[in-house]
């Protein structure tokens, strides 16, 4: 939950990078840490195992500056992707304002992606949150690998869409990232919405900021 502190005039929002193990969540944060000027970000904290696998979380605070008198910050977190650490993942989701699902594009990781997406949905429900009603974007990482699955297959498996019930939002909305496709459209009389999706090669920084920008803007919108 974003916190608006009228006394100290601060707004803090929590973004969580979720997804299967070794998918590139920590790499996303490391790239943000390297590229954002030090005056706009804090220290990156990583609670990792000796083999550099995330044990509890990574944390990176990013400062948007003072906007209309409010110091505005995003707190970026990753979760441990390994199945074993579900209790930790659940804790990190507490109070989340926006989620980035980092999928591993490799064909061999399709099952792990699907399992992690279902786990995300279930863990959100345990916090009383509906993934389809909060800012949510998907990143298809590792697009440079020869065994990367086609985007259409990933979208069908991980981002098939959900029924959109608010009449005010039932407007055909083209997907700016995929010409000819739609974020909101009608199928067989039912309005369906899909999460914005981005292709990335996080090790090279490709797509990292596109993803972060998209989820950040969606979170800011919820404050209005």
């Amino acid at each position: 939950m974003s916190m608006i502190n009228y006394a100290s005039r601060e707004i803090n929002c929590k973004l969580v990078y979720y997804g299967p193990g070794l998918g590139g969540k920590t790499t996303n944060l490391e790239h943000v840490y390297q590229k954002v000027a030090p005056q706009f970000r804090g220290k990156m904290i990583s609670l990792a195992t000796e083999t550099e696998r995330t044990l509890f979380f990574d944390f990176l605070p990013v400062d948007l500056g003072t906007i209309r008198g409010f110091k505005t910050r995003f707190h970026l977190y990753t979760v441990p992707g390994q199945v074993y650490y579900n209790a930790s993942r659940k804790l990190i989701l507490k109070g989340v304002d926006g989620v980035v699902f980092v999928a591993d594009s490799q064909v061999e990781r399709m099952d792990a992606n699907i399992e992690s997406m279902q786990n995300l949905y279930d863990n959100m429900l345990e916090h009383g949150l509906d993934l389809t009603k909060i800012p949510f974007v998907i990143q298809y990482n590792k697009r440079d690998l020869p065994n990367a699955a086609p985007i259409a297959d990933l979208q069908a498996a991980l981002n098939p869409g959900w029924p959109l019930e608010q009449p005010a939002r039932q407007v055909v909305t083209p997907d700016p990232n995929y010409p000819g496709e739609f974020l909101i459209q009608q199928y067989d009389g039912v309005w369906v919405e899909r999460a914005p999706a981005f292709e990335a090669v996080a090790t090279q920084g490709i797509g990292v900021f596109d993803t972060l920008r998209a989820v950040s803007k969606l979170v800011i919108k919820t404050l209005g």
Binding site: M1, S2, M3, I4, N5, Y6, A7, S8, I11, N12, K14, V36, F40, G42, K43, I45, L47, F56, F57, F59, P61, V62, L64, G65, I67, R68, F70, T72, R73, H75, Y77, A87, S88, L91, I92, K94, G95, V96, D97, F209, L212, R213, S216, K217, I220, K221, T222, L223, G224
Partner: protein, 162 residues
């Protein structure tokens, strides 16, 4: 509270800071912070701390992990947690299941005194937060104005490279 989260007004913030200052005076702790369960700092008094955001995120995670541990062994409520170090020590205590009191102290005081005084501070803070929860149910949720949203989006483009 807001639709997207919760908010803290100036009157409550003043009262909270008074309680924290009193806690500082009575216990001899160097710094006292209130953080929410997502790791965000609500307010703080006392000596400035290096990397306050990092400290708050770790403290919230630490408290939550201990809370879950307690529930796994069948305990319903977790009492204050004290990490006692050679040079510095930390106390974490829950306030009304809403926020966490984080006190940083050194050898100029004792864990026993800090725990004792923290109990009174927590009770006083709980009264403030209970009142806030009651008031939040009565008024419209505060929201940020449109101009803020537009400027924030521009800052996002600038910082994250449009």
């Amino acid at each position: 509270m807001t639709a997207s989260g919760w908010s803290l007004g100036e009157a409550e913030a003043r009262r909270i800071e008074e309680i924290l200052h009193e806690f500082l005076r009575q216990s001899g702790v160097a710094s006292a912070l209130l953080i929410d369960h997502t790791g965000q700092t609500v307010t703080g008094v006392g000596a400035s701390l290096p990397d306050r955001d990092g400290l708050a995120s770790l403290a919230a995670a630490d408290y939550s992990a201990n809370d879950q541990l307690a529930s796994l062994i069948g305990d319903v409520a977790l009492g204050p947690i004290v990490h006692q170090g050679e040079r510095g020590s930390v106390l974490l205590a829950d306030v009304a299941r809403r926020v966490i009191l984080l006190a940083v102290f050194d050898r100029r005081t004792t864990p026993g005194l800090v725990k004792f005084r923290a109990k009174g501070a927590v009770q006083a803070l709980e009264r403030v937060f209970t009142g806030m929860a009651r008031d939040a149910g009565q008024g419209a949720a505060p929201r940020m104005e449109g101009a803020f949203l537009g400027e924030a989006a521009e800052e996002i483009d600038r910082l994250f490279g449009a």
